[in-house]
Symmetry: C2
Subunit: 116 residues, 2 copies
DNA sequence: AGGTTATCTAACTAGATGGTTATATAATAC
DNA sequence: GTATTATATAACCATCTAGTTAGATAACCT
């Protein structure tokens, strides 16, 4: 099961530890040890989470001496964004007003700063 | 576990049957029987999927004689969209080029049709 | 009331998931 | 070579998940 990659991506994102890992990787590459530091779970548990993220392509691994640094990959996130985008027209009341929909897109484009 | 609602929402979306149910509900309310028709799984399996969707607020149920119609609710989808939006700036190479980013947004705004 | 239709609950099963500890591999440092 | 550090694998366990079949509940229709 979960042969389709969108299901696997959603499943990977359904764990708060894994989402926290992704969030930390937005600041740049991190080794497994650095990634593990803020969490209370064991090393092997982190390794498993990383395997899940890697399998769906949300991270890639490097090699640097005895470290295997992790890097964020966003292609699967883009696929999630594309999927959910299909539903955007349902969360403003005006289903039939195309112009309002486009205006909404435009507005989001402007406010591009990461706070809020 | 999965006390946080974003995790529960992602978990709910990680199943292709449930995503198919949501997709069908974009055309309007449907009874359980109507929803179940295209799937090969049993009635109780559908009931369970609906419970999962209802628990995270992706659907609400009505009452109409012996039918309990399902309606799509998009608030959780909006939360997913908001979460993934935080990563948008990472999926074009030009982190530092604001104009290119805005151009990309603009392009997406234009091609708003649901095919591809 | 008795039958039909729609849906849910109960009890069970196989397999996935997320964690553990103990051990293995691999690269660096002396 | 030996020790140290970083990460991975193995084996195990408890819980969750998605499905099943059988039976219960509830509203409608004569």
């Amino acid at each position: 099961m979960t042969a389709d990659c969108l299901s696997a991506t959603f499943a990977a994102l359904a764990d708060p530890t894994r989402r926290a890992i992704l969030a930390r990787l937005t600041f740049g590459e991190l080794s497994v040890g650095e990634l593990a530091r803020p969490f209370k779970i064991s090393g092997p548990a982190i390794t498993k989470h990383l395997k899940v993220l890697q399998r769906v392509g949300l991270i890639t691994r490097g090699r640097h001496a005895q470290w295997r640094p992790c890097r964020l990959e966003t292609k699967p996130l883009k696929e999630v964004a594309d999927w959910v985008e299909e539903y955007r027209r349902f969360w403003d009341q005006s289903f039939d007003r195309l112009d309002e929909y486009l205006a909404e897109i435009q507005k989001k484009g402007k406010k591009h700063d990461p706070k809020k």
